[in-house]
Symmetry: C2
C-alpha cells in the first residue's frame, strides 16, 4: 500500500502516534499563559504554537495575513472572518513551519522558546466569541429513541422530522470551555401526579453527546448559503456537551421548546479542528428517504467519520468509565444541510456563530448519546466501577467526551470536553 502524502508528513516537534494533534491536524485555540498573555495558538503534540509570536516574527509576511496580526487576539473571530483563502494559506504556512525539514523555528532557539509552549503550562480559553448558538436535533436514532419513550413506537418521529433538520436557538452566554465546572441548576418541576409545580435542584441532570461547527464567514440578512457554499463557510468543529435538566425541560418546554432546561450550561472542547483537517475523513452520508426538497440536496459525501466516546468519573472512581461509543457519521442531516436550512429564510450568520448537531446516538444500545437513552428513562440504571448506580448524574460526577478520526498511522483528534458537576446552590425551599 502506498502511503498517502498526509500520513507521511511529520514534524520536528515530537508527536506520539496516539496523539490527537499531529501535524495533519493543526487545530486552533486560544491559550492563556500564567502571566495573563492570551493569544491564538495551534496544537502540535503536547505543545502549543503561539501564532501571535510567529506572526510577530514576520513568518506570515508572505501570506494574505501579513498585515494585521489576527492571532494576537483573545478569540478566533477575526481570523475566521478572513475567509477560506486565508485559512488555507495559514494552514499551508503552519504546516511548512512545523515540518521535519524546516529549520525556521526549530533552529532559532530564542524564537522557539517564545513560540512553542507546553500545553500543561497554559490554560485554554473559550476559543471564540460566540454570537448566536443554534442546536439541531439531527440524529434519527436519538429522535426515534426519545419519540418511543414519550409517544410510543407508532409516533416516534414527528411528521416534519424527515423533511427538515429540526433546530432551535440556544443560549450563548453560558457556553463554557472544557475544564470549567458546571452547577446543578435550580428550577420548577412538576411530578405527573402533583397538582402544582415545586422549586428545587434538578434531579434529572443529563448530558447530550454532540459536536458543533463554527461559522467562519457568514451571509448578509436576506441572503442564503446553499449546501455547496456551506462547506466554504464553515471554519471547523468542536466536541459539545449540551447539558440538559430533563425534569425542568419536561415541565417548561410546551409549546415553545427547551429553555431553562438547557440554558444553564453548554460545554465545548477548546481546539477547533478545521474542515480542511477533516477532509480526508469525509464519507458517504446516510440515505435519506423520502427525498429531500431541492434546497436541501447534498452530494452524498457529506458525513465525516469521527469516533466519539463519553465517559463518567464519580468522585470515588480512579479512572473514567466509558458509557457510550458512537460516530458522527450516523447523523441523518449533514452540517451543510443544517446550514442551508438555517439560512433559507434569510437568517444572517456571522463569524463565530455556533451550531450544535443534536445528540448523536448510533444504531445500537451501546452507542446512545444521553443518559436518558442509555438508562432508558431510568428503567435500566448504569452500575459504575465504584459500585454506585446512575440513572442520571450525581453531584461530583465528571463527564468527558472525546472524539477523533483514525488516519493511516495518525489521528486527527478533538481532545476532550470535560466538566464536573457542582452541587446546586443552597436555597430555602
Amino acid at each position: 500500500m502506498v502511503q498517502s502524502h498526509e500520513s507521511r508528513l511529520t514534524s520536528w516537534v515530537d508527536v506520539e502516534s496516539t496523539s490527537d494533534f499531529p501535524i495533519q491536524n493543526l487545530p486552533y485555540g486560544v491559550f492563556k499563559k500564567s502571566d495573563g498573555f492570551t493569544a491564538v495558538g495551534v496544537a502540535i503534540g503536547d505543545m502549543v504554537l503561539n501564532l501571535a509570536e510567529v506572526h510577530e516574527a514576520g513568518l506570515f509576511s508572505k501570506t494574505c495575513l501579513a498585515k494585521e496580526n489576527v492571532f494576537a487576539r483573545d478569540g478566533l473571530n477575526d481570523f475566521m472572518a478572513c475567509g477560506r483563502t486565508a485559512w488555507k494559506e495559514a494552514r499551508r504556512r503552519i504546516t511548512e513551519l512545523l515540518s521535519l525539514d524546516c529549520g525556521t523555528i526549530r533552529d532559532d532557539k530564542a524564537l522557539r522558546e517564545r513560540a512553542l509552549l507546553h500545553m500543561a503550562d497554559v490554560e485554554m480559553q473559550l476559543p471564540v466569541a460566540i454570537g448566536d448558538f443554534t442546536d439541531f436535533y439531527s440524529s434519527k436514532e436519538h429522535a426515534t429513541n426519545v419519540g418511543i419513550m414519550f409517544r410510543g413506537k407508532e409516533n416516534a418521529l414527528m411528521p416534519n422530522w424527515l423533511h427538515l433538520p429540526v433546530g432551535y436557538h440556544g443560549r450563548s452566554s453560558t457556553i463554557f470551555v472544557s475544564g470549567q465546572d458546571i452547577r446543578r441548576p435550580l428550577g420548577q418541576t412538576k411530578a405527573d401526579e402533583a397538582d402544582a409545580p415545586t422549586f428545587g435542584p434538578s434531579r434529572l441532570l443529563d448530558f447530550e453527546l454532540e459536536m458543533g461547527f463554527f461559522l467562519g464567514t457568514g451571509n448578509k440578512p436576506g441572503e442564503r448559503i446553499n449546501t455547496k457554499q456551506a462547506r466554504e463557510n464553515i471554519f471547523g468543529m468542536v466536541l459539545l456537551n449540551d447539558w440538559s435538566a430533563r425534569d425542568i425541560q419536561k415541565w417548561e418546554y410546551v409549546p415553545l421548546g427547551p429553555f431553562l432546561g438547557k440554558s444553564f450550561a453548554t460545554s465545548i472542547s477548546p481546539w477547533v479542528v478545521t474542515l480542511d483537517a477533516l477532509e480526508s475523513f469525509r464519507t458517504s452520508s446516510p440515505p435519506q428517504e423520502p427525498k429531500v426538497l431541492p434546497y436541501l440536496e447534498g452530494d452524498g459525501q457529506d458525513a465525516y467519520a469521527i469516533n466519539l466516546e463519553a465517559f463518567i468519573k464519580s468522585e470515588k472512581m480512579d479512572e473514567p468509565m466509558r458509557i457510550t461509543a458512537t460516530n458522527f457519521r450516523h447523523l441523518y442531516w449533514s452540517m451543510f444541510q443544517q446550514l442551508a436550512h438555517h439560512t433559507v429564510n434569510g437568517t444572517a450568520m456571522r463569524a463565530g456563530d455556533l451550531c450544535g448537531s443534536g445528540t448523536i446516538s448510533g444504531p445500537t444500545e451501546e452507542s446512545r448519546g444521553s443518559m436518558l437513552e442509555i438508562c432508558w428513562k431510568g428503567t435500566k440504571p448504569l452500575t459504575l466501577t465504584d459500585g454506585s448506580e446512575r440513572k442520571f448524574f450525581a453531584d461530583g460526577d465528571t463527564v468527558i467526551i472525546k472524539g477523533w478520526c483514525q488516519g493511516d498511522g495518525y489521528r486527527v483528534g478533538f481532545g476532550e470536553v470535560r466538566a464536573t458537576i457542582l452541587p446546586a446552590e443552597q436555597v430555602d425551599l
Copy 2:
C-alpha cells in the same frame, strides 16, 4: 391640583406637548451623521444631544463617567455596563444641562452647534450590540386567544402557563432597527391535507406587537437575579415587532419551538427609554392566581402603563390605518418576574442582552396584538382604507408600532418601530 416636579420641568430646547421626547424622557440611542460619525445621543424634542461631544467638552467631569468617554461608541453597551449609579448620574447631569435655566450648552453657540443635531439629519442605528435575545410569551390574553384557535376553549392555556413565564431563545443576528425593510422569508410549509411539504415564500406573514427590555448589568454564571434586584439590572425598554411566518412556524415548531418562522427578522425602535424615565408610570400588576412560587413573587406594582398602537400602510394608502390599541400593563408576567425566572437556573445575563415580552394583547377584540388574532386565523379579514383586504400582510405593507406613557401635560414616548415588507427573493420552485 399641585403639579408634580416632573411635569413642571422644561427645557431650553423647544419641545411640543405631544412630543415623545420631552426633558422628562431622555432616551438613549446611537446616531450616525451624514459624514459617518457615530455616537451615543439623547433625544430631546426633534433634536439629538450628541453625548460624545458633551463628554468631550468636559461636561461629565464631575460624574463617575468622567474618565472614559463611553458615549463615543457605536453601541450603548459600555455605558450600560457602568451600572445604575452611573445611569442615574448621567440622567441627572443631562437633565441639568437641558433645563430651561442652564446656559452651559444653550449659551455656547459653537458647542451647541456641535452637540445639538436635528433628528432629520442623522440616521438612527441599532442602539445596542445584542448578545442573547430571549422572547417571552407573557400575555394571558394572547396565549388564550392562540390556545382557543388551535386547541379549543377547554385547553386554551397550557398547564405550565400560569406557573412560569414561558419563553424561548431567539436570533440576535437578525434584529433590525426601525426603518430597515424586511424581506418576506422563503421556507418549508405543509398544507394540512398535503402529503409532503413544499418550498416557497411564506404566505402568512404576521407581526407581533411587543416590547423589549435591555439588560444593563448582568450576573455571573450560577448566580441569580431576584425580582427585587431585577429592577436595578434592567437599563431600559424599546418597542419590538417579532415578525412571524405563521405557515413556516406551524410546520417546523414541534417539538423544539419556533425557529425559522421567527429568525428572519425582529425590528426594534431606536430609542431606549430608561426605567428611571418610566418610574412615574409604574402601576399595579394584574392579579396572579394560582399564587406563584416564592422566587417569582413581586411587590404588586410591577406593571407599567404604556399605551401601544399598531398601524398598517399599504403602498396605495396615504395615511397609516390603526389596527390595534393595547397597553403594556395588561401583561400577566412582569419584566422582573421574567428576569428572575430566566436566571433562576444560573443563566448568565450580559449588558446588551434583550428580552421580548411576547405579543401584548388586551382584553378586547380591538386590543389584539397580531394579525393571527385580529383576523382570527383568517376568518375575519380586515378591510384597509384603500379598499383591499388583509388576513396577513402583503408585500409593500408598512407596519408601525408606537408607544407612549401619558404624563400630566407631557408624554414619555418610545417613538416608533417601522418596517416595510419587501417581496421574497425570486426562486425557481
